[in-house]
């Protein structure tokens, strides 16, 4: 007997294992030895030789989705991670979401430097080689654009899109780099050193201010992503990495860090990444990304082709720290069951959750709700929208709801 843990088919994990034999595979399969004559080509012919830089199987080539650019600037735009096609928590480098303001520069590291100046004892310049000689740290961190999930904010009717198209401006990598405080210590901070301002070497010269309290916490000059040097699209040769904060402050192609008494109030922190409230006041420097989760399977535009037990699986994260709990509902939020957190506990990282669910053709609305280790609970869509002015697309972390019809069609809905 499988054990129900919440309404409309949610099961405990033992349920999945027990149900697998009957529900998933439709009975126990008898092993059959393939006759030699039926062998596939790859069993009878030597395969391809070794390769300098590997590529995915041609049967499993994935692509970034939702590639969109500004009508007056083809390099100002974004692309999203196809979350529905991935499992685990790490985003392959080729599929990490992108957001650029004037395209991707092709930087020669031998002609690139990082300068720290302003409210410091010394003005210091570092080459790429210099930075490689510093002690480094390695951490798995998520990165989310503060405009992620904007479709669910701006469209009055829920857009029929995939989870990646809707929410794929979030990715997760193992980042390796030099803790920023090593370099700030070397430069020596003056008593007025309240902010750092990071400036990129791209044509947009993207510039953001970060309070010193955050800058000296766990910020790094990232040099490696998932073990290899940063990709150009992620800031090669070096980027600022500000874990838990809106992606835009992790300035790519970093060339200057100016230490200041005040913020610089750059275009991107005033015109763009500020959050307008109904009363006409906007939050500036609201950097922390809220607690959030998404079911990635089943998810938008998928089709359930059989009845039986499914694994509901998804991702959860919080800019405040770690994830304590993810609950899943199959009845639009009437009842909730706790999902299993399936990755090693990590701060400021994507976490994978899973829970078994029996679907016998009944209509359902699947949702997830994350709670972080500071006690923040992911809000409903309505509560998340109520926080800001209607026009504000930033820092949206409301519940993602997937409707499952009797025909097994999975669709984005507002519930």
């Amino acid at each position: 007997m499988t054990e129900h843990v919440a309404g409309n088919g949610l099961l405990n994990r033992r349920g999945l294992l027990k149900a697998t034999g009957a529900g998933l595979a439709g009975g126990v399969l008898m092993p059959v030895m393939a006759p030699v004559s039926a062998a596939e080509d790859w069993m009878t012919t030597s395969g391809a030789p070794m390769d300098e830089y590997g590529a995915p199987s041609k049967h499993a080539r994935l692509k970034r989705v939702n590639i969109g650019a500004h009508p007056y600037g083809s390099g100002a735009g974004s692309s999203s991670t196809p979350l529905e096609k991935l499992n685990g928590t790490i985003t392959p480098n080729s599929l990490h979401f992108e957001r650029h303001h004037s395209g991707i520069p092709d930087i020669d590291p031998a002609r690139h430097t990082l300068t720290i100046y302003g409210e410091t004892n010394k003005k210091l310049q570092f080459s790429y080689e210099d930075l490689l000689a510093y002690p480094m740290e390695t951490h798995t961190y998520f990165l989310e654009c503060s405009g992620n999930s904007y479709s669910n904010v701006i469209f009055p009717e829920a857009a029929d899109k995939t989870v990646g198209e809707l929410n794929g401006l979030v990715s997760c990598s193992e980042w390796t780099g030099v803790p920023l405080h090593y370099l700030l210590d070397e430069a020596g901070l003056n008593s007025n050193a309240n902010w750092i301002v990071g400036e990129g070497a791209d044509a947009a010269g993207l510039t953001r201010s970060i309070p010193m309290k955050i800058a000296t916490k766990n910020v790094m000059i990232a040099l490696f992503q998932n073990g290899e040097p940063l990709r150009p699209a992620q800031g090669y040769p070096m980027r600022l990495f500000v874990p838990g904060s809106e992606g835009n402050v992790s300035v790519k192609w970093l060339q200057n860090i100016k230490v200041q008494k005040t913020a610089a109030y750059t275009k991107d922190e005033t015109s763009k990444y500020s959050d307008l409230h109904v009363d006409g006041k906007a939050d500036m420097f609201s950097l922390e990304m809220g607690v959030k989760s998404l079911i990635t399977s089943p998810s938008g535009k998928m089709k359930l082709n059989r009845k039986g037990v499914y694994e509901v699986s998804g991702l959860a994260w919080s800019g405040a720290g770690g994830i304590n709990q993810v609950e899943v509902s199959a009845d639009g939020g009437n009842s909730w069951a706790t999902a299993a957190l399936q990755s090693e506990h990590r701060n400021l990282s994507l976490m994978r959750f899973r829970i078994p669910w029996r679907w016998e053709g009944q209509p359902a609305v699947l949702q997830s709700r994350a709670t972080d280790d500071k006690g923040n609970v992911q809000p409903t869509r309505a509560a998340a929208l109520a926080k800001y002015s209607k026009s504000n697309i930033y820092h949206y972390n409301g519940t993602q709801s997937w409707q499952v019809t009797q025909a097994g069609v999975v669709k984005n809905v507002y519930a």
Partner: protein, 184 residues
């Protein structure tokens, strides 16, 4: 890279000696390490730069360069360098740099330089670093002041003959200057 192995005091308290680099003890952050590698020692490799220009302009205007320009001078420059993408009057749909006056506290807020930005210095800083989009950093200092002045005039914030320079620009009061909450 033999010096790379010499960056930490290991858990037995042994220090590797390196010949080429000076070490700085990072005691303040010693508790912040991953694992138990011991006290981190970092090489001090930062050099004094020969030439370094400060391009980051804040509301105090201290980083603004010498030079000047007025809206009257900026108009022709704007028409040739900016209007193709932002419209003759700054109201190109989807790429506005003007308009939306008084809309921010309403049901349909419309964010532009004029209606939303709190500081005029931001406009100089941004044009100098990022515009024109098809030829970034091509404007002279005087041209940048003049175009900045013209965009402010398009938004009815300054007058045609007001001269913008490192003293006057930081004093321009933007309509939405009080529209922001600082830190959460």
């Amino acid at each position: 890279m033999f010096t790379r192995n010499c960056l930490v005091v290991n858990h037995l308290g042994r220090v590797c000696l390196a010949l080429l680099v000076t070490f700085v003890v990072n005691q303040a952050h010693a508790g912040n390490n991953q694992g138990n590698l011991g006290v981190h020692l970092t090489p001090a490799l930062g050099q004094t730069p020969n030439l370094h220009i400060d391009n980051i302009v804040s509301p105090d205007g201290l980083a603004l360069p010498d030079g000047s320009g007025s809206a009257a001078e900026g108009k022709t420059l704007y028409i040739s360098a900016c209007a193709s993408c932002h419209g003759m009057s700054g109201m190109q749909p989807g790429n506005e740099v003007a308009g939306g006056k008084g809309s921010i506290g309403t049901d349909s807020p419309f964010k532009t330089v004029g209606s939303y930005w709190p500081y005029a210095t931001t406009l100089y800083d941004y044009i100098a670093r990022a515009m024109p989009y098809d030829k970034q950093k091509s404007l002279t200092v005087d041209e940048t002041y003049a175009i900045t002045a013209y965009v402010l005039e398009l938004n009815q914030i300054i007058k045609k003959d007001d001269v913008m320079d490192k003293h006057t620009l930081p004093k321009v009061v933007m309509p939405n200057a009080d529209g922001f909450n600082e830190l959460n």
